[in-house]
Symmetry: C2
Subunit: 361 residues, 2 copies
């Protein structure tokens, strides 16, 4: 268990308390490119809706989340019965594990990927098999080969965190077709709203394929509501019903329900977010190339960058400049760091810091 | 399972969508005496702190909850290592069940009590034995007699929901002394802040008795933050460490952390809440007695009242008046209803409605 506890600790401690060796000037001082949050901040419409609800905070939330589920269902062209809400999409992942995985059953997890899949599965007695990425992409062909009668659950992150790569519609369909019917496939689309590739698979197309596909989505990234803790799962009605049995009645808080509803309809904030992310990505691709640094092309709001053996010095140098990024050494990606695409000014300060460091070293 | 699902549905649906047979005039129209919320509303200091944090909602919360745990520890005279935070105290109850209960192990649950204990235990394969109350009080003597080598977990609600009664310090000590060492005792003090009895046991006195005592507390009742979802558990450090392993890193949202910290220090709101509750209780005792209605004396913010065979008519009549209370028929307390102590004006309207109904029938 100790490795898992370390991953959790690392995960929780994304942000060090303060840069070593210089005075801490407070939160505003930091450029946080470490947690893939939306640097534009929360949707202003969500904040308005939340502010109007503060006086009702002594009341319990609607335990069914009916209004938000109806709004999501309309947007997705599904029924509210195809949706389960969670205290962040992490909780939906936990519902799936607790509902469908029994002690000792086998779980296939790409590696590297979001650390929580393994944490959740192991906490419930799952035996995790790691399937290495190929060219920084989830290797669906290899995963198919590793499926046995023991396999119960497969985690797929699309785009994959921390590489930012996706699998395409045809790749996913080729993967689903031969899959034994007992297997639950959980596709985590935490970064799905950022994807621009035309052949990105749309989750709700696969609810009725005779396979057990659960898609998880979140308001923590694109919608800028990480602090509120709200995500959701999409699946066939019978799977949702089973997962609802392990859900606490009030797991999603009142402000999360209200904020998520408003954020969904804040098209202006959504467009601004997409534009900023695409612009930032183009800028970083160009500047990283200019600096001779290699990186992995991303469909998400982060970029995996290679600093090689200089990684510890680069991370420390960036901290001194008030810029926080995530080293991926602990994820089996030695030499790589994950950089959240920030505001234009933040991206610029990141590049300038790298440039000064290259000149100085 | 179907009975459990009904209890959950009942629990979630505490508030019917609108009174039958008359026009719905919106939320403000209702006097909600059904969910034991604080009718004064949230602590103003908590609301201030929350409003100041809204612009940071795109950031993840501190997954360790360090500052809140330190503040709680100082107030309780404990170490932060004795505290675990949860997404409502319900989640802490779930942590305890998931950590300490194995499939098929025995759980002792007073009856009637808060429905969630049984729901949580059964969801994890616990075999629940119901121990009836005696004189509306949890029967610690009978519970002691029912403990066997199979017993793993005992739930105690102090004050007990829905009866409002407490067990005393000496009763609790007499219960703890002969208890086999494998048994975990979970004392739920969701209403503890309302208790005025001098012999009420203080949980943290029993952390190091050689028994496994876990106390759960909440910000949903006295502190008026039910919508935010935050509660905590108090136990020996080794028990807390075990429970932390099943906790998701970000189960408590950012506004809950910030709001709870501020609410803890809002002594004015706390005093006002206590004063209002005590005054309302005296008023309701006197008026219920005047109307010839029997009730159970309460140490909490609700009163169990007997309407006997008239219960369905009384509930419906109150709904017509815009007053929501909870019938306890589904809890094995036929003829009883649980009434949250409201604002003075709300209590008065409740009594006046009963009086008019008595005169009319």
């Amino acid at each position: 268990m100790s490795d898992i506890r370390e991953i959790v600790a690392d995960y929780i401690m994304g942000l060090p308390p303060y840069p070593k060796g210089r005075e801490w000037r407070g939160e505003e001082d930091l450029i946080r490119l470490s947690a893939n949050e939306n640097p534009l901040g929360p949707s202003p419409k969500a904040l308005d809706a939340i502010a109007k609800t503060l006086n009702s905070l002594h009341r319990y939330p609607d335990g069914t989340g009916r209004e938000l589920k109806e709004k999501l269902a309309r947007r997705l062209g599904l029924s509210p019965d195809n949706i389960i809400l969670g205290n962040g999409s992490n909780e939906v992942i936990e519902f799936a594990v607790r509902t469908f995985l029994k002690e000792g059953e086998e779980v296939l997890v790409p590696e590297p990927t979001f650390a929580y899949y393994r944490i959740a599965a192991q906490a419930h007695g799952g035996r995790c098999l790691a399937i290495p990425l190929r060219d920084f992409k989830i290797d669906l062909v290899e995963i198919t080969k590793r499926v046995t009668s023991q396999t119960k659950l497969i985690f797929l992150s699309n785009p994959n965190n921390p590489t930012g790569t996706i699998f395409t519609r045809s790749e996913f369909e080729g993967f689903l077709a031969p899959l034994p019917s007992q297997v639950v496939v959980l596709v985590d689309e935490a970064y799905g709203e950022y994807v621009t590739a035309a052949d990105y698979p749309v989750c709700q197309d696969y609810l009725h394929e005779g396979r057990w596909v659960i898609t998880t989505k979140t308001f923590s990234k694109f919608y800028g509501l990480a602090g509120l803790r709200i995500g959701y799962g999409i699946a066939r009605k019978d799977l949702i019903e089973q997962m609802e049995k392990v859900r606490q009645p009030f797991s999603v808080n009142l402000l999360a329900l209200v904020g998520a509803e408003a954020a969904l309809e804040d098209e202006k904030h959504g467009e601004k977010t997409s534009r900023m992310n695409e612009g930032g990505k183009r800028y970083l691709y160009r500047e990283l190339a200019r600096l001779g640094l290699s990186f992995v092309s991303s469909e998400a709001n982060f970029i995996l960058v290679y600093f090689g053996s200089h990684t510890p010095q680069v991370i420390e140098m960036l901290l001194q400049e008030g810029i926080v990024v995530r080293s991926m050494e602990g994820y089996g990606l030695g030499g790589y760091s994950r950089i959240t695409i920030g505001l234009p000014e933040e991206n610029k300060r990141f590049i300038q810091a790298l440039e000064r460091w290259q000149e100085g070293s």
